[in-house]
Assembly symmetry: C2
Homo-oligomer: 418 residues x 2
Amino acid sequence: MGIRSDMLAMGDRAVAASRELVTVGTKKKSAILRAMADELRKSHGPIEAANQKDLEAGEKIRLSSSLLDRLELTSGRIDAMADGLDEVARLADPVGEIISEWVRPNGLKIDKVRVPIGVIGIIYESRPNVTADAAALCLKTSNAVILRGGKEAIHSNRAIATAMTTGGRDKGLPDGAIQLVQTTSRDAVRELCRMVGRVDMIIPRGGEGLIKAVSEQALVPVVKHYKGVCHTYVDQSANLEQAMNISMNAKTQRPGVCNAMETLLVHEAVAAEFLPEIGKRLESAGVEIRGDATTRLHLEGVKAATEKDWSEEYLDLILSIRVVSSAREAIDHINNYGSHHSDAIIAESDAVQNQFLKEVDSATVYVNASTRFTDGNEFGMGAEIGISTDKLHARGPMGLEELTTYKYVIFGKGQIKE
Amino acid sequence: MGIRSDMLAMGDRAVAASRELVTVGTKKKSAILRAMADELRKSHGPIEAANQKDLEAGEKIRLSSSLLDRLELTSGRIDAMADGLDEVARLADPVGEIISEWVRPNGLKIDKVRVPIGVIGIIYESRPNVTADAAALCLKTSNAVILRGGKEAIHSNRAIATAMTTGGRDKGLPDGAIQLVQTTSRDAVRELCRMVGRVDMIIPRGGEGLIKAVSEQALVPVVKHYKGVCHTYVDQSANLEQAMNISMNAKTQRPGVCNAMETLLVHEAVAAEFLPEIGKRLESAGVEIRGDATTRLHLEGVKAATEKDWSEEYLDLILSIRVVSSAREAIDHINNYGSHHSDAIIAESDAVQNQFLKEVDSATVYVNASTRFTDGNEFGMGAEIGISTDKLHARGPMGLEELTTYKYVIFGKGQIKE
């Protein structure tokens, strides 16, 4: 009961703040963001001390070195968080934009206006910089935010949140606009995503387990940031040297991220020419290959891919390869096994390109480019709160616009319905 | 287990159909819609016979006369359904529209393209014409649809669905594109809204109970069409004659619909002048008034409103009235008790208008017009699948565009991430 009533009270404060935020203009929001950045810069001491506590606790429970690395807040990373806030302050404010407007025959003027969503719940894991980034993007779009970070980063997150609210308060940050869940109990997550009427959207960011748990418990709409099982399909019409470069980039440039390639599909007509060469390059980059039967005819000593491999998000230097007999088969493979995130075709044929772009049911589809470009910054959005693998509300990279909704504002002169 | 596996199989057929539908062009979809309309016109006999069965069963279980009226398919209503299909055929096809396009400094060309959502589940109650309307709008937008109508209309719905699929098949309607759940068991609803990966969106249309049940069970995203507790606020700056006309229209022109006014808020400065006159007009229109204490000072013999009245959707000739001391109080009342559907201010003051439009958190906000205009046709959308009271994906009237999502289509020339 304690957690429940605490969360409901937090929700009430967030709703009150969200109503105040619709009256706060762009200039004031920018001033708040800059004050928050300044306060972060002044708070190296307390933030690093808090972070040290989390790191020590993490070592005690033997967190992996990559998790410890994500958790660590060096002086440089604290400055980068502060700089991030200043950058968000400089972005254009989407709130109030008139998306479209028209006049009806009866004289009613209808404006479709971009407005904040209200209260957003962000549930995330180890990286404490998300605390600053997410709060800044929500504030920029006049949304109140309830942040629920990982247990392992609780001291760091508290120190960051304290610096931000302290810095923002003098410039008019409404009470309750940025709140961090203080308990590390999982019950708080459950409450947060069931507070219909107090929370308008939940964004879970993290591993598959987190996202599944949130989706299954939620009553509030969730925009999921699920895994990326991304494909590159090398068509028979491909420029093979280009296919080689793009595939190597998609797999090896940064294998631990959701837009890295996990499965390479190769048309049988070019398999004999393409596979041995890419096999060599992958091997020298340290990539483990798991191939279907035909791939293994062309690449000796390669492990057999199992059915499970086709839907695996390795996030590592591992690649599954399958030879297909047509673009049709490649498209079907992607739609059946993929995660509808980012998929590319390497082809010179317009007809095959168009078929792929139309029929692959993914948030982002590429012709002759690396899937690694699926990213708010690469899209020119200026900021990114995540990459949605859902189809509703937002699909693909989510920037500031995707943290807004709209309302219809209608101007009449006494019109009544006949 | 039988219902579960039947529903999953239905979902698989819908997914297969949705993949085929992305390859079906506008002309072909129009031909299918017209063939469906023709077949409905040829099927008066079987549809009326099926409807007779539903009506008899309905009388046996003593359905109210208004429910029986909704259920009845007269010859004229069948023709109207068919005409509706022809109208949908004539609407512009939103699929394939390039919503925006830009080129990045690295030469990548990004198109944000409107695409179908995939598989849509529609769960609705007694009106059998929804079967035809919803199927047509989904087909027009290249979505596969699974229809789950009310138990009381099952024979009518089957006859309509059969006519549509029979009519469409010869013109290339994909198998599984329009499916009606055949069982009347509630377990089917549960399965339908939990088929993640097979269903992309659920639209529930009906009473509060239905929508609540669906939202609570759903794992698939739901776009809710909840109740309409709509307000008209008469400011002290209002033109009172205009306020009178608009209020009467919003309450009495068609009280049984979601955009009718349920609560009238009156500024205290005009209460003495406004209330006695509107009270007379409401009384002669047969409207029962439930007022707060101040209202009852001005209107003798009026029932006292209880706390419950302020959030009640009467859908009837009943109106709650409250006197407020400021626009601020009116806005807070609407945000606290309303359903975020449609709310109007009657005011001449620009400042008060703007405050109301900005701060009332509703899908549609009006200045000096009746809330009765919240409607896809009145907005010029050409068609309406419902009115969303959610903030995500779609808000307010949902037309064809709101049955689509988007994908990013990216054209490269070998770009790789640095």
